[in-house]
Symmetry: C2
Subunit: 245 residues, 2 copies
Amino acid sequence: MSQHRHPGAPGRAGAVPALPDLPEATVARLPEYLRALHNLADSGHETVSSEGLSAAAGVNSAKLRKDLSHLGSYGTRGVGYDVALLIEQIEYVLGLTQRRAVALVGVGNLGHALAGYDGFASRGFRIAALLDADPSRVGEEINGLVVRHVDELPVIAVQESIAIGVIATPAAAAQRVADQLVAVGVTSILNFAPCVLSVPEGVDVRKVDLAIELQILSFHEHRKASLTALPGGLAATETQEAIGT
Amino acid sequence: MSQHRHPGAPGRAGAVPALPDLPEATVARLPEYLRALHNLADSGHETVSSEGLSAAAGVNSAKLRKDLSHLGSYGTRGVGYDVALLIEQIEYVLGLTQRRAVALVGVGNLGHALAGYDGFASRGFRIAALLDADPSRVGEEINGLVVRHVDELPVIAVQESIAIGVIATPAAAAQRVADQLVAVGVTSILNFAPCVLSVPEGVDVRKVDLAIELQILSFHEHRKASLTALPGGLAATETQEAIGT
DNA sequence: TAGATTGTTAATCGATTAACAATC
DNA sequence: TAGATTGTTAATCGATTAACAATC
């Protein structure tokens, strides 16, 4: 089935093309492929095999081909994938053809770092607003942006067409901020606060909890230690694990 | 099977007890349960049902019970789980009975924030060393710790019994740092640099990529937009998704 | 054509979930 | 005992993987 669905090409009836309904696991890996492809493009590669790309992205090649097959057929048998075309296609699917505006709420320790993080700008996003509930923080300038009060969110959301909200507040404040984001129409939230957010249907929440990541590693440390200490002394066999996203 | 395996109790033959070989998905949720349990304990609950705990942790109750069943039987039918006992048990399994020492490499923008992140200290970890390859950064004091040169790692790793390395360098430097960590015996790495690390068997790597999280949200934004724009106008139905770790 | 590599198949594996028997 | 809730079963679902036919 070699039906190229070019970026922006009409699906049927000339409407906005319906995106393929990708498996979540695939969606989570596409950004990884994209990063690897950009590296390849920067180093002058015009074409790459599934073997080559999968190695660069740290997955196995069957998985990569399966993932890409969900997007349609963009490879050439016997040759590989066109790097530029695949970049274009993945960026289209991920919705990165438009630069999405991000509102970052909470400019404490972590928020400060996020506000200055280059990776956002270079990979499809624009931090359009910094907000905080603490009046003493309002007015501070970080990276060329002035911190504004979170109550200004309704105005700012419209002015800046905020698409994604990032919560970097303490846990105690996070639910209230989430409610405020939802109230102004934000349907995608990245939550750094260590708590569960409750949001209405149709709102996507992703969570990053730094301490949890360490605790998962701690489990594996503990496990490895208990294995090596075993009577039989199994040592560190079969313990490898490069864990995905 | 109500075989309580108490924290620190011998498995067989009086050796260190072999940890249960938990499913990865379960391991990733245990920290979430632990956080919820601490909240419950703080608010005076002595007992909690699977229904109550699962709600607090944002998962369904069948999944919670299944997860906990892997640890052994720590609940009481008709009653629920003893909060304190369950905390103790999960902390034991996660290896949090000892406070693990963390070396943080790269004190740029993000590294600075991580160095000051309270969540680490309060949830079982001790940032024992701050390191950087840039001599102009060495000597700087952050949160009571002096930044040292990454080449001092061999000495520091031993002195501080470093268990986990956190990489917060630019992508270009990350592999070299990973090699250095591995060389001094670190077998658990949390990588914030946007690149794939290659490490020998027995070394666990977890990755946090902030831009990838936004790109995944971007996909869902794009998808929701394409659905509402559809001829039939399916609107935002069945798009809910509170994505786990 | 011969060699290379994709896209797909089908088997396997692991995770989720509802339902309920066991039991406090 | 009656009510509540766990721990487990079994069915289902989704993700991974090796193998290979299709095809450049």
